[in-house]
Symmetry: C2
Subunit: 260 residues, 2 copies
């Protein structure tokens, strides 16, 4: 299973109609089994599946750290991940808990409630970053997106320090892209409380909550945030930035943590 597929299309430009070859992004059903129970089937891009598994289990509260994972096996051909984790009781509780279906691309279902987020710890760490540093990160983020450039069909997500991108992932779903980045950070034991998260897509409450749970102080998007995401960001002292493109950006919350 490759990231992209070549297909025959009719390309229309004005009154011209041409048969051409085009590249489209692969969509791939990927099922996660946890302790021999089928947990979920994600529709995703077939890349970084181990990180996606870890990130999904972490974002949805099944694990707190990689030490909760006893074993993880990925069968890429079959599109299956077999995971053994500790805390089986908490798993059962989760499986029978309420689900919120959200507005998000990819993993729209959160096993936790929106209101849980208010129980998240408020960000205390005042990160020192300049607007120019953010603009530079946004520029290299745009350059990085290979799959997007070839297909126009994916979301990207990056974890950065003040000067460079440390982890970069793409997926047809924006939640998958975020979970891949968070999963890889967890796997590689990367400290998150002094990092910046860049995302290509819109920021709704559940994107904000995932960021808050990992205590990442700054979330930057090329697109728009929703009202609820802004309210949560204010409540949790997260600096939320939207429409970050070229020399422009809108800062929605936690203004004082900024170093101009």
């Amino acid at each position: 299973m490759k990231d992209t597929k070549k297909i025959e299309i009719l390309r229309v430009k004005g009154s011209d109609v041409l048969e051409e070859e085009d590249i489209v992004v692969s969509e791939y059903p990927f099922t996660i089994f946890v302790n021999d129970e089928e947990l979920i089937t994600l529709l995703c891009s077939p890349k970084s599946l181990k990180y996606l598994t870890i990130g999904f289990l972490s974002s949805d509260g099944f694990i707190n750290s990689t030490s909760d994972i006893i074993d993880i096996k990925i069968d890429k051909e079959k599109g299956i991940s077999y995971v053994k984790i500790k805390n089986e009781n908490s798993l059962i509780e989760k499986l029978y808990g309420k689900r919120t279906i959200t507005s998000g691309c990819g993993k729209g279902t959160l096993f936790y409630n929106v209101l849980d987020s208010f129980k998240s710890k408020k960000i205390k760490n005042k990160m020192s970053i300049t607007l120019d540093e953010i603009k530079n990160l946004v520029k290299s983020f745009s350059k990085n997106s290979e799959l997007f450039l070839s297909t126009g069909g994916v979301h990207s997500c990056a974890l950065c320090n003040n000067n460079e991108i440390l982890i970069f992932e793409e997926d047809i779903g924006r939640h998958n892209a975020l979970d891949k980045v968070l999963g890889r950070a967890l796997n590689d034991d990367v400290k998150l409380t002094d990092k910046i998260l860049l995302v290509s897509g819109r920021i709704s409450s559940e994107m904000l909550i995932k960021t808050a749970k990992r205590e990442i102080p700054i979330l930057v998007s090329r697109a728009a945030p929703t009202s609820l995401a802004i309210e949560l960001a204010k409540e949790l002292n997260i600096t939320l930035i939207g429409f970050a493109r070229g020399e422009k950006m809108n800062i929605y919350s936690n203004f004082p943590s900024f170093n101009f």
Copy 2:
């Protein structure tokens, strides 16, 4: 609850940083109860909630037509919809069935399996439409999107005949926008087998499946389709068009049904 909210932001342009008022799109938790059971909480835009309820229940197979609905009450203030439907057994079956969490914006969870789509009826109706008619629909679709123009934060969806838009809806989730359109069509008893569906967002398999279930022959997007969506469209004789902008578009499937 309004569609948009006014907030204070810092607007950055180059080295200028200005305090300004901005408009952002509202995000609103909306819970659907069916026969006194809590079914799901959607995060959506607070508009057309009756159509969203009907469309969601229809897309996810809880109802086949509005005659399956005994009663429907919307409490907009509380964000709750109370629905009484027939076929309680099928509801229970659905509730305990497998869920696929998908890549989609809004209602990423489908209660049906991707493979179910292959059981969908193939489109037989050869629609007669010209490229110019599609270009004109795409142009008026772009003009229609008020919430997008004010906030940049929503997806839109429209049901059209060859000459004009009949139903238009917007939502922070692309699945919600689609379900609102399908729900309204069901509510108003609009025939779908000779219509065109326009969507602003990417087309993944579950968007295609929702279209197929209602036997809509043509699906047009301003954005990219995934490989799986294209395969399904070919299998089901749906004409799938992506990157429809101005005078351009890519036609991915079912070429012969086209009238040039």
